[in-house]
């Protein structure tokens, strides 16, 4: 075992940086942090690079907008073109795990079977991934959310599902000692969430990895069938102002920059690893729709696990239901109306609950392209008409659950439908009307498939272990390798695949 590694932060850089390693990992989110830890423990000399800074509890901002400008790229205002939909990517040590709600759900067997058969991936069934899922679950202490920290807004969801005979269950999460502060999205002040910065990154350091933060990688340098280095700049936290040059030479490179940055990095590196033409293609989201319900009694929705309950009842129909809480300012942006009506509705938040549905939307595809400068991508994506009925059905089911749980009204947030609905019969337009994509207000949750795995090198960027078909020593470990939606929240599957990737690297290299 190597001696413990070290973390370098922005204030420590005083000159150009030149490093060498067996393996360099670009990106410290769930994929990259895990690969760094596993390979360091396997005895490899590992350098882990992260563009953002480490964010400590003293640096957390409770206010939603302020938090977004600190922890998310483009100040949290990134959106797709084509169909305008907000989406997010983190920029901090630990990546999205610092600001997500810790949901860790295994992909269902039918989704992975579809991957196996449609994308020629014979070793990616649930049976093949089980050991990798188990390893991650054990390390992060993943367990169903206990009832004592559910809070009223989560338990009302269970009540509604029970009344209708829909299955529901506490969401498994990577937390230890959660107190139900509802602050997952702005950084867990209780230090309960096992985000990568407090779990896998420290473990990687213990095993000897070096972690360089505030380093933006701009290019992968290749020679023939091999990559040999990554180059970039030291960048200041928040402003991104570039300064010293960085070069890390390595025998093997792992890109874990995220589904929206990994393809940009490949495109900026001379359209690397793209003989298939699939780099930056197949952009898929889990578009989310949500409904706010108002109950007769106080729900104190700010208390309780951020997302504590879910229903997998409708997975085969293409959607998953969840409870939701977010910083009040972020949650309130969907509240309809203005003036005294808007204030009245905001005043009802303490008696409300918000539940959402995420949908697989297999027909809705897009592209990621590098812009003229910088690493922020140009995202073009369309919500396909054929996917709208799935989202519409999800909205109707949410309405059913709200009224079964005792809600006195719901705010569906759909153009052309009443702003407030007081009974299920009033909600009928959600079921009967033919809604168009632009009638819906969607959020772009979970992103996949922009460097997808495929058994056929002509149709995919990487093989099922994450190795690029075109290059001998370039690997990818983030959600860009998903061939399509996993039907549920992607973090655990991303980490299971990254675990397999790390072990494949350790065995082969």
């Amino acid at each position: 075992m190597r001696p413990p590694g070290e973390v370098r932060v922005f204030a420590q850089y005083g000159e150009d940086v030149h490093e060498q390693a067996d393996v360099v990992v670009v990106g410290s989110g769930p994929g990259g942090a895990l690969v760094a830890k596993e390979l360091a423990e396997a005895g490899k000399e590992v350098v882990l690079l992260e563009e953002g800074p480490p964010v400590t509890p003293q640096d957390y901002a409770w206010d939603g907008a302020r938090s977004m400008t600190r922890t998310l790229r483009e100040g949290g205002l990134r959106a797709t073109r084509g169909y305008v939909m907000p989406t997010m990517q983190a920029i901090c040590l630990g990546g999205g795990s610092l600001v997500n709600s810790a949901i860790c759900v295994r992909a269902p067997e039918f989704a992975l079977e579809r991957w196996c058969t449609q994308f020629e991936l014979p070793h990616t069934s649930l049976g093949h991934l089980n050991t990798h899922y188990e390893a991650v679950e054990k390390f992060l202490g993943i367990a169903p959310t206990p009832e004592n920290v559910q809070g009223a807004r989560n338990l009302l969801f269970k009540r509604g599902c029970d009344a209708l005979g829909y299955s529901s269950e506490p969401i498994p999460r990577n937390v230890r000692g959660c107190r139900g502060s509802g602050e997952c999205f702005t950084g867990c002040r209780s230090r309960a969430k096992q985000s990568m910065d407090i779990s896998y990154v420290p473990a990687a350091l213990r095993a000897g990895a070096r972690v360089l933060t505030s380093v933006q990688i701009q290019q992968v340098i290749s020679e023939g069938p091999k990559v040999r280095a990554v180059v970039g700049r030291v960048v200041a936290p928040f402003t991104g102002r570039p300064s010293y040059r960085v070069e890390v030479r390595a025998k093997l490179i792992v890109l874990s920059a995220g589904c929206m940055a990994t393809p940009v990095l490949l495109q900026r590196s001379g359209n690397l690893a793209n003989s298939s033409g699939q780099v930056g293609e197949n952009l898929q989201f889990h578009p989310g729709v949500a409904i706010q319900g108002v109950f007769p009694e106080r729900t104190d929705p700010q208390f309780g696990a951020t997302q504590g309950y879910q229903s997998l009842h409708f997975l085969r129909e293409g959607f998953k239901l969840e409870t939701l809480w977010a910083p009040p300012g972020v949650l309130a942006v969907r509240t309809p109306g203005f003036g005294l009506d808007l204030k009245r509705r905001l005043a009802e938040i303490p008696c409300s609950a918000t539940w959402d549905a995420i949908s697989s939307c297999h027909f809705s595809l897009g592209t990621v392209r590098a812009r003229r400068s910088g690493l922020d991508p140009a995202l073009l994506w369309h919500l396909d008409e054929r996917d709208v009925p799935i989202l519409q059905r999800a909205l109707w089911v949410l309405a059913e659950i709200f009224f079964a749980a005792g809600a006195r009204k719901i705010l569906p947030g759909v153009h052309g439908v009443a702003e407030e609905i007081h009974s299920l019969s009033e909600a009928e337009p959600l079921r009967a009307e033919r809604l168009r994509p632009k009638d819906l207000v969607c959020g772009g949750n979970h992103v996949f498939s922009t460097a997808r795995m495929h058994g056929d090198p002509r149709r995919g960027v990487v093989d099922e272990y994450g190795k690029c078909h075109d290059l001998e020593n370039l690997w990818i470990a983030d959600t860009s390798v998903f061939p399509q939606s996993p039907s549920v929240n992607p973090m655990l599957t991303c980490m299971a695949l990254a675990h397999r990737t790390a072990h494949a690297i350790a065995e082969r290299v």
Binding site: V9, A11, T56, D63, R179, G180, S190, A332, F338
Partner: protein
């Protein structure tokens, strides 16, 4: 002929000067130097804040009292330049769209003035027109404006206290990572915590609406 051309040019110049003055002049002076927004931009944000969140109603605090203009100013200053330009375009559009989508009153009744110069009733009518428009881009302008201003309103400690949503103090345990990372901008040598400071993970005792508020959201803090 020359005289006619001169008169035409004069008339055109006068009209252009009038139009420009309607766009750029006549904005109220401001006492403190803003972080990012110009005087006209602050004026339109303030006007929209008062229209979206007027005084009275279910929450007593108005948009102006909640400090929305200064919040939006800081927010715009904090986002990257490309997004900053888009936000400024949004405010420009809101301010001057009433020329193309006049508020009630038309030219004679003042309905074609810039948004921040409209009467409160005309502002309400203008926003209602955007919110209920059948044109998606108009609705998008409205929802974007409302989203930014609502985040500002709901960031106000006074509003959050009124709703019972202000954050509570939480004792943050010390974990291994706290010995590794300094605060943003600081050197590792600034980390004062040692191994002996590590605390055991919390037992998961649920939080509730009891205990003191976080200091920056407590009563004495002015929005």
């Amino acid at each position: 002929m020359m005289q006619a051309m001169s008169l035409l040019a004069l008339a055109f110049g006068t009209a252009a000067a009038y139009a420009l003055s309607r766009i750029f002049l006549g904005y109220p002076r401001i006492s403190s130097r803003p972080a990012a927004l110009s005087r006209p931009e602050l004026a339109v944000v303030a006007a929209a804040a008062e229209t979206l969140f007027p005084p009275g109603g279910a929450i007593a605090v108005s948009g102006r009292e909640a400090g929305i203009p200064s919040y939006v100013d800081r927010y715009v200053a904090a986002v990257p330049p490309r997004l900053r330009r888009l936000m400024r375009m949004l405010f420009f559009l809101v301010e001057h769209a009433t020329v193309f989508f006049p508020a009630p009153g038309g030219l004679r009744g003042g309905g074609m003035r810039r948004f921040s110069s409209l009467s409160p009733e005309q502002r309400v009518a203008a926003l209602a027109g955007w919110e209920r428009s059948s044109l998606f881009p108009r609705r998008l302008v409205f929802t974007s404006l409302r989203a930014i201003l609502t985040m500002g309103y709901m960031a106000s400690p006074a509003v959050l206290r009124a709703l019972g949503l202000a954050p509570r103090e939480i004792a943050t345990p010390v974990c291994e990572a706290d010995l590794l990372y300094p605060r943003i901008g600081a050197l590792p040598s600034s980390i004062a915590l040692r191994v002996t400071d590590l605390t055991r993970p919390r037992d998961g005792t649920p939080l509730g609406p009891v205990g003191p508020l976080r200091a920056d959201y407590a009563e004495e803090v002015r929005p």
